[in-house]
Symmetry: none
Amino acid sequence: MFARKGFYATKVSEVAKAAGVADGTIYLYFKSKDDLLVSLFEDRIMLLLATLERALALRPTPQERLRCVIEMQLGLLEGERDLAEVITVNLRQSTRLMKQYAAPKFMLYLDTIARVIAEGQKSGAFRPDVSPHLVARTIFGALDGIAMTWALGKAEAGGLSRAATQVADVLLSGLLAK
Amino acid sequence: MFARKGFYATKVSEVAKAAGVADGTIYLYFKSKDDLLVSLFEDRIMLLLATLERALALRPTPQERLRCVIEMQLGLLEGERDLAEVITVNLRQSTRLMKQYAAPKFMLYLDTIARVIAEGQKSGAFRPDVSPHLVARTIFGALDGIAMTWALGKAEAGGLSRAATQVADVLLSGLLAK
Amino acid sequence: MFARKGFYATKVSEVAKAAGVADGTIYLYFKSKDDLLVSLFEDRIMLLLATLERALALRPTPQERLRCVIEMQLGLLEGERDLAEVITVNLRQSTRLMKQYAAPKFMLYLDTIARVIAEGQKSGAFRPDVSPHLVARTIFGALDGIAMTWALGKAEAGGLSRAATQVADVLLSGLLAK
Amino acid sequence: MFARKGFYATKVSEVAKAAGVADGTIYLYFKSKDDLLVSLFEDRIMLLLATLERALALRPTPQERLRCVIEMQLGLLEGERDLAEVITVNLRQSTRLMKQYAAPKFMLYLDTIARVIAEGQKSGAFRPDVSPHLVARTIFGALDGIAMTWALGKAEAGGLSRAATQVADVLLSGLLAK
DNA sequence: TATGAATGAGAATTCATTCAT
DNA sequence: GATGAATGAATTCTCATTCAT
């Protein structure tokens, strides 16, 4: 609902009706309307983090690990256009929301990406002249931007995974040591 | 004000007071509160587009042109933390706002970047195996993500221009034909 | 709880928790939240009435009987600051509550005081030129006001019984026939 | 409206309609619904205080001054049954309201009465063996109780001023030095 | 008897917008 | 053009009460 109508335009009573419960019941499980949005985000980013850690454990080379990150971030949203819209668009409704709740969890995610880069640099696979954290922010932003334009546009099925391969190609060849 | 408190948390009366006019006066110049935000965005993106076109005219090689894009997008926000926050965070109020007003102008901007890529591919400078539009979305997203994390974090002076160089290095070597 | 937080600010669930039972259990013993307050009041005023009647039976002279009334009304609350607050403050929730439930019982109480006065007048002990009912209302109000200011203030231990003696002195010498 | 329906049972929108303004307009003049009630009380008690001080200035003897207090407190409500109900009943809805807002102004009023008593004691007119503040609380309570029973009952015209004379007789002869 | 999760009616308050001055 | 007092629609959240277990 947040994706379709926007967070502020969505009434709690609509969420309740869609969930098949009474208005008050929402408040037995969520502290406030804000909490509803934040929980959605946290659920997903924690899921992403957990899945990512597990997947990374199976990929030995830095190249594979980076592709893994890219595939997972876009994969989380593939087929879930509404979720993509909530996370890339609606979540950013208010700075307060972002700073207070989303930022900490989000930083954990950036840290994970940065660690992949740093390890690749240490092993000599990636160029050492760039900041791992900056690269992490670049990668996150690139994928987020792709998801956003995908969600706001036609959101074609399979579009994100096709994008993932190309983006990975470009970023990887930009990061590999010469 | 939108940046500091969020669009919805900012009252029109606060904007009026900050501008030193009466509440009603706002409505002599803007159709609605939404219009206030959209105008802000349009002003800036049109400025960015115009400045970018002018700057691109002076850069002959695709490499220089791409660096130019990167420097300008981040440069627009350098030193204007609040503006960065409005554009990367607050503007994403609602899908309606994005789709109806921001998207068209935004597409013009993506088109400009895509054109730079396509020209680079045609001239043989950039690898031909990636979609110019996808690369444009990647570049925009990367820069937007950097600006967002910069704005939400400490927003250190000079941070964005230092970032620009490194991002340009990575993206360029990822895009150059072998 | 009603005394500490006010009747409207006290949730039934808080009363239930304080009583160590589940919310629903309250409704097995009380018809409604209002009933909770009314029962509290009725319990106490009936207790006061019964105790008062018993005590009055032992005091032969009008003077003693009047002192008895004063001591009992203030004595009921001595050491029970919360109860004093409920009766003097919180019970006055709404005119409806007062008129419908409290007033009848309350009138019984005023009647008892008025009877003490009337008997004193008949016996020649009290001045005959004042209405017994008006005097009863005066006495009740005076004691209620003392209890209220005591409850809203520091509610010092022993404060009410010390007050009782002085008030009785004043009222008695005001009522005695010349 | 508060008197007729009780404070909690009265909706702000009803007050607004009765006042012939829109709901929101209430909030341009009062901070909250509570403030509406408190303002009513403060207005009146300040009026009472001012009128009382002025009237007291014209009465030389302690006896006259005490009668003056009694006449004014009951006189304020004479003919204003609703106001009497608000002040004696509705205002006492919550301890918070009383303690936080009403108490300070109320104490000023009690102080004024106590001063009348203390002066009477100093001049030798009143018995010296009772606390002026306790007597003030007694007098206030007696009058408040009379007003309350009057408001909750038939509230006959002229009832309060007739009561005033009798109460003054009793209290005065109770207070005069022997 | 006791429970406590679910209910949903209800109300205070906010704030974008208007328009008489 | 500018003002800012007044508007009133709109919405979150609370909490007394119920009832299946």
